[in-house]
Amino acid sequence: MKRAGHKDVPDVCIIGAGLVGGLMAYELARRGLKVVVLEAGPHHRLQDRVAYMMDIVSGRIPGWPFASNLPERDVYSNAGRVEYPVNHLRVKAVGGSTLHWGGQALRFIESDFRMKTLYGIAEDWPITYDEIEPFYTKAERALGVAGAADSPFASRRSADFPLPPFPFSAGDKIFQEACQKLGIVAHTIPWARNSVPYQNRPACAAFATCGAYRICPIAAQYTSEAHLDLAVATGNATVIANANVVRLITDRQKRITSSVYMNHDKKEDKQNARMFVLAAHTVETARLLLLSESSQFPHGLANGSGMVGKNFMERPAIAVHGTLKQQVYPYRIGFPTMETMQFCNPKNRHERAGTKLEFHNFWGPKPYGIAASSGNWGKALADEVRRSFGHDISVEASIEQLPDPGNAVSLDPHLRDYFGDPAPRITYSFSAYEKTSLKAAIKLAREVLAAAGAERSEDKASQGFAGHPMGTCRMGNDPATSVVDRDLRAHEVSNLFIVGGSVFVTGSSLQPSLTMAALAIRAAEKIAGGNT
């Protein structure tokens, strides 16, 4: 991808080349707008990905793929009762976190947008499911979502999934029978992964590396590289990698004139544009606004409401593991193929969070994991590996988290990043709502495991996060209580749009990515003047 020409002022500067940055770039560029995308991370070439995947799988490269190329830049601190791992599932690179996301592409359900009206808690979104529904359809087509309308708990849809679903795995029969015993309706999972060839990308070949190693070597799984490439191909878009935006500069009319960015040698540059789109991940989006304070915006850009950084949310998740007598044939595909949305909208949702269950039969140690913890060798070790492998299953439950102004991203007063700027500080904790809901989720997961015949399930569930940070720049109709309006335009800065999970008013027990994509496509149409 070539560097942008700096002399011509583009129509739009997009900060961040992840899921929503890539989609916005294409949606704007195909309508004839000149676009420059600034991405903090490097450009990992797709043609190198098979070899890269082999290095990851073989252990030649330790850890997960696409690790930060500048860790000193990505420092952060925690100040709350619960430690939040910002970098755990975040990728800074062209493609952003889609380079190693799970790929589930679920629509939120209608009630997710109306929590205040229906349950008297949290806030309603300024838009309804009906308003976003056509954009869900567009997002599913853009990402290439493979699914079936077999979930009786999903909200209405105006069009079929563009791709057929992934069928259940052999091991899913165990879960299916367990769910039937408990009166739970299990169904397929919509994936942004090609079940058949789609949009010049191949069908999933079952490399089985997407879940266990977080990498798809052939781009059967969607990454935003697809839309960045399409955007560049229009001739209207340019992507600049390794461009770390550190400030947004405004003029007297309170409009952004340029974004200042640094390369890895700390050389400063700037990109002018008529319009700016902030798509830099929930944490960095808030941080950049706070860093861009000025005499006109003394508390940070677009932060007259004081809401920038506030209401940080995640999808807290637990996994309960069990062991079966029979083989479950794990690791033959990299992702789960069965889940249930039956508990996403409980009647007592005012006191119990929506909960989604996923059934994982790619769990437990792989042969080398068993071998590593053994003191055996030779035939005795081989017998032990055969005996131990393939009997583990897991139920993962993720819950929704309510917005809480106390959960926030702010600027750390002491910790500085590679460029000398204040690092993000995360203040995060669970309310009683999340704590009781997590306990209930663990109980539910154990019931499924018991019904599946698990000989034992671990006493303590693994507590974690789904890697879906949301909030910090919530959308709303009232400038006093929100950062952007229903079209994602900043209330106080007329040429700034904010996209991504940061604008979410509430979370959901369902993955947020498709909603982020749908909102981004909607915002692009607004920016382009309704020209679809």
Binding site: M53, M54, V57, S58, G59, P167, F168, S169, A170, A203, C204, A205, A206, F207, A208, T209, A212, Y213, Q327, Y329, Y331, R332, I333, G334, K366, P367, Y368, I370, A371, A372, S374, G375, N376, W377, G378, K379, A380, L381, A382, E384, V385, R386, F389, G390
Partner: protein, 204 residues
């Protein structure tokens, strides 16, 4: 009531033990976790040592899924030429295996090398050096670390465990559990995951 004399004696004993533990800490750390000599240069393992290490590899993998000699050679060469300290450990490991072989099996000068032993004899050499603690609560890695020699521990930690891991990450290791396709190597039929493994233990 404890007497003053007993109290002072107990306090002095605890204090002396604490000081001794503090002084011995660096030694214990080295003892429990052998260190690599990262000043030692990278390089290629001599052929005679390589034969012993290949023999070690053939002893610790599954006999029914034996890789070719090159599998081990390539791995060892990659490690000794890219990670400082490992070449020295491989040479020491070969030396330890040969010394133990000679002690256990009083053979002629030409046949006292580990590589020249039968599979059963190699296994006995390993048993003399390395503890089998799988499945036993009494014999644990921690006890082994305290009791075994530095070179025996280094043999396990720097040589055997990485070789075993490398093997079980490879197609030969996955074949032990009947998988011909596995993460990183897709099956011919992408929908094979919807069916159980076939009776022959291979991917259907």
């Amino acid at each position: 009531m404890i007497s003053r004399r007993k109290f002072l004696l107990a306090a002095a004993t605890v204090s002396a033990a604490s000081v001794a533990a503090y002084v011995a800490r660096p030694y214990l750390r080295r003892r429990l976790l052998p260190e690599l000599d990262i000043t030692h240069p990278l390089g290629v393992l001599p052929d005679e040592n390589m034969r012993d290490i290949v023999a070690l590899g053939e002893t610790i993998v599954a006999p029914e899924s034996m890789p070719p000699v090159k599998f081990f050679q390539d791995y060892v060469n990659a490690v000794t030429q890219s990670q400082r300290g490992f070449l020295k450990e491989y040479v020491r490991a070969a030396g330890l295996l040969n010394r133990t072989s000679a002690n256990l099996f009083e053979q002629s000068k030409t046949r006292n090398r580990f590589a020249e032993l039968s599979p059963a004899q190699r296994d006995k050499v390993l048993q003399a050096l390395i503890w089998r603690y799988s499945g036993s609560d009494l014999i644990t890695p921690k006890i082994e670390k305290l009791m075994a020699s530095r070179d025996a521990l280094a043999l396990r930690i720097f040589i055997m465990e990485p070789l075993i891991q490398h093997y079980y990450r490879s197609p030969y290791g996955w074949a032990v559990v009947g998988y011909l396709s596995f993460p990183g190597r897709p099956p011919l039929d992408p929908k094979a995951y919807t069916r159980p493994l076939d009776d022959k233990g291979s991917v259907s």
